[in-house]
């Protein structure tokens, strides 16, 4: 072996040995795995500036859902009050169940379709409609008629896949960090489109409980403290606008229903910004009182809204 060869070989070996040493030095750790810092989101406040000139609650009765929704939103200031041109709007109907519209387990597709149209008329850049369904999402959106209504109106259905959830801090009493559909952080405005239904544990499911549908993960654990959970959801998520569908009301065997005889035709649409007021108003359809529902009282105490809707400026119209 020549001297040159020996030196070169030794140098190469020293180089590899140094790299091995550096590898050990750099990656030495007292933790078995690296913890990746996942970003934790918080909800933005979707509400727009309050305007006292308009009634806080619009209650419209009639037969034609499209006309009722248009009148209700017109009354509280028109869609232009809530949506600025170019904004991306997210709609959250209740599309949790593989049921048909007559069974009233999901939001009336005509109501969803009209809200999509109104958003586009207010020159929203895009209207997304989403829910984290309990049954198979394809079936829920297809059979509830919501998919068809949204597509006809020019909106887009966004199915939430497992990759679409991001961790979000709800800063609640019982709800802390939960996986939430990422669409809520991508949209500029949020419109809540609940339906009035009976529910055996929380007694009713309307505007506040509808927000449950933004959560992923093991959300069935919320039942263990359902009243605090619903109040937490309502304090974390402040929708721009709520349009509550009480055209058909599921009175019994909720929230799934399935029998037309449990459905009562009420032909009413309620619109407003105050979730708690809308929720309290809706109780009449299920023959309940504010005192029966702990989460409404909790939400009122936290200042999320006003449960005594009679003290508000309410416009009641028949069309």
């Amino acid at each position: 072996m020549s001297r040159r060869q020996f030196l070169l070989r030794t140098a190469a070996t020293c180089g590899i040995a140094a790299a091995a040493g550096a590898w050990g030095y750099v990656f030495y750790s007292k933790e078995p795995v690296r913890r990746s810092d996942t970003k934790i989101f918080t909800f933005k406040d979707f509400r727009t500036e309050e305007k006292r000139v308009y009634p806080q609650l619009a209650v419209v009765r009639g037969k034609d859902a499209d006309k009722m929704v248009r009148t209700a939103i017109e009354k509280i200031g028109g869609m232009g009050r809530f949506i600025s041109p170019g904004e991306k709007v997210l709609l959250k109907p209740n599309a949790a169940w593989d049921r048909q519209p007559e069974q009233a387990a999901n939001t009336n597709p005509a109501v969803v379709g009209t809200v999509v149209r109104l958003c586009l008329e207010a020159r929203a850049s895009g209207v997304w409609v989403t829910d984290v369904s309990v049954n198979d999402p394809y079936r829920c959106f297809a059979r509830s008629g919501i998919e068809d209504a949204v597509k006809r109106a020019g909106g887009r259905i966004r199915f939430t896949t497992e990759n679409d959830f991001v961790l979000t801090d709800l800063k609640g009493e019982s709800l802390k960090v939960w996986p939430v559909s990422a669409f809520y952080h991508q949209a500029d405005k949020l419109i809540n489109l609940p339906v009035v239904k009976h529910h055996s544990l929380s007694k009713c499911t309307m505007a506040m409980k509808n927000l449950y549908g933004c959560l992923g993960g093991q959300r069935n654990r919320l039942h263990q403290d359902i009243n605090t959970s619903i109040a937490d959801l309502a304090s974390a998520i402040r929708p721009t606008l709520t349009v509550m569908d009480a055209t058909r009301v599921l009175k019994r065997n909720g929230p799934t229903g399935g029998n037309i005889s449990d459905v009562s035709i009420e032909n009413t649409v309620v619109a407003g910004v105050d979730l708690v007021a809308i929720e309290s108003y809706g109780l009449r359809f299920l023959d309940l009182k504010v005192e029966d529902i702990p989460f409404i009282t909790m939400a009122d105490k936290r200042g999320i809204g006003i449960s005594d809707w009679r003290s508000l400026n309410v416009a009641e119209i028949d069309v």
């Binding site: 593989d98 049921r99 309990v134 049954n135 198979d136 999402p137 394809y138 079936r139 297809a142 059979r143 199915f159 896949t161 497992e162 990759n163 529910h199 055996s200 544990l201 093991q218 069935n220 654990r221 039942h223 263990q224 403290d225 359902i226 065997n253 929230p255 799934t256 229903g257 399935g258 029998n259 449990d262």
Partner: protein, 505 residues
């Protein structure tokens, strides 16, 4: 120009690509969102082995399976064209074989000559048909169409979807998927050592078609006057059928490569000429054939005298709604996995040994993975053999007057794990999701005393066995994630007269 492109070989290739794409497309379409009215199980219905074997077990040719008669008639006239022109398994094996062997210096003449190993498939066929004649349908284990459908459904499609999500909304998970995928890959890899090993040596459908094409009207002929014995015809032979000497029509796939490769134009397809060579008879050992059939005759009583879902009800063997009575179910199910592909919730899973050896890879419902969707009857629509017979939503839900809903099992509470029963914690998620009206899960309100002496009002769930249809959504949504506090077992299933518990319902 056109004559150079539209050679017999290229026409076959066009058909092969068409049928391969059609197979993958139809399987992809087998889902709620895309299905519409397409005949998604078409390839299974064209499969003569499925129709012949299921005919032997139950003396019927069920609905679409009658399409396989076209393949049988075609084979009688034209020979075993199915294997290289239509069969997706054959086409995939052919592609793999040519890719593996193109890159290496191999003696293609030796690789494509006939071997006695190729008799093996006839013995498999004898075994399976003997079993079928006794009443056990096991062809699905090696029948190529169920084999590839099952492999794609349970392993290949889910793997393609993994971390991309472009085939499914929710990543499907199947028990034993890796095992099935590895079997499929092993079959593909076998082409590295012997091109079309599966088709030539294993495939019982190929054997059946070989028997049918024993004396086809049209076949490949070699003109002995023109032939120079150069053996170039063996270079690309698909079937290993010895076109250079006395052709074995039972092995010939009609790939037409020998015609294209012959420099003397000594080979043609059609009717014989005076100078055409003779044909080689079917090469099987009669003794081996009888032995294989006897093996089936011995295996049958063995399989029927162990604990299986056929001999005694198995609590984990919950069959899809519309399934026929278990004994007949095992006579009809070819383990193809169509029902597993179409199921929107992924609840239908391939059985391992829950149903016994006979029921391996047959569909069972595992409610921790999914649940039976209340308004869904898709699995009954795609089943090619009628193991799951056709249901309408009205029939499934018992909507007609005097009708009862189809029940696949019954839910039971494990009160030691149920939050309201064992831990005085509010829950009743099961009651919320229960789809029947009125709900099969009901509750009673109790005043319970907590550890610290305080009292609390609490709702505790019960099952009404007369309303429960066994759909399993309660088990699926139960917050006790690992082993649910409410679980469905097969008891009370509509299809069985014996697997019942309540006297009056």
């Amino acid at each position: 120009m056109m004559r150079r492109i539209l050679t017999l070989r290229n026409i076959r290739r066009i058909y092969a690509v068409f049928f391969m794409v059609l197979f993958a497309l139809l399987l992809w379409l087998t889902s709620f969102k895309q299905m519409k009215g397409y005949e998604t199980p078409l390839f299974l219905e064209l499969d003569p082995l499925a129709s012949v074997a299921s005919f032997l077990t139950s003396w019927t040719i069920y609905r679409g399976l009658v399409l396989s008669v076209f393949i049988i008639i075609g084979t009688l006239f034209f020979g075993r064209f199915f294997c290289s022109w239509v069969c997706p398994m054959g086409i995939i094996n052919q592609i793999a074989g040519s890719v593996f062997n193109k890159l290496r210096a191999v003696d293609t003449v030796a690789l494509n000559s006939y071997r006695t190993l190729y008799r093996l498939k006839y013995y498999f066929l004898a075994l399976f048909l003997a079993l079928a004649a006794f009443g056990s349908l096991q062809t699905g284990l090696l029948d190529p169409i169920p084999f590839i459908t099952r492999s794609f459904t349970i392993s290949i499609f889910p793997a393609l979807n993994n971390s991309r999500g472009w085939l499914y909304l929710k990543q499907p998970l199947f028990q034993g998927g890796t095992f099935l995928g590895l079997i499929f890959l092993a079959v593909i890899f076998a082409n590295r050592f012997l091109p079309r090993f599966w088709c030539r040596a294993i495939c019982p459908l190929g054997a059946l078609l070989g028997l049918i094409s024993f004396r086809p009207v049209l076949r490949i002929w070699r003109d002995v006057d023109l032939c120079t014995d150069c053996k170039k015809c063996l270079g690309h032979c698909h079937g290993g059928c010895d076109p250079h000497s006395a052709l074995r029509t039972t092995e010939c796939h009609l790939c037409m490569n020998c015609i294209e490769d012959c420099p003397e134009s000594a080979i043609h397809y059609g009717l014989p000429k005076p100078s055409s060579s003779v044909q080689m008879p079917l090469d099987v050992s009669r003794r081996r054939l009888i032995e294989s059939a006897l093996a089936g005759a011995v295996l049958f009583p063995m399989m029927r005298s162990t604990i299986t879902s056929g001999t005694s009800p198995q609590y984990r063997v919950i069959r899809p709604p519309g399934s026929i009575i278990e004994r007949d179910f095992l006579r009809r199910c070819i383990k193809c996995g169509e029902c597993m592909k179409v199921c929107p919730t992924n609840v239908i899973q391939p059985a391992l040994l829950e149903a016994g050896f006979e029921g391996i890879w047959t569909p069972v419902l595992i409610n921790r993975i999914g649940y039976c969707e209340y308004n869904c009857v898709l699995c009954s629509r795609v089943c090619p053999t009628g193991a799951i017979s056709i249901l309408t939503v009205e029939k499934k839900l018992g909507k007609g007057a005097g009708q009862k809903p189809v029940k696949v099992g019954t839910a039971f509470y494990d009160r030691g794990r149920c939050l309201p029963w064992a831990m005085n914690t509010d829950c009743i998620v099961c009651e919320e999701v229960c789809p029947t009206s009125p709900k099969a899960i009901w509750f009673q309100t109790f005043e319970v005393q907590l550890r610290d002496g305080a009292t609390k009002m609490l709702k505790r769930p019960y099952v009404d066995p007369n309303l429960c249809i066994g759909c399993g959504i309660c088990e699926n949504k139960c917050p006790i994630r690992d082993r649910a506090a409410v679980r469905v077992t097969s008891i009370g299933e509509t299809r069985s007269l014996t697997n019942q518990m309540i006297l009056k319902s």
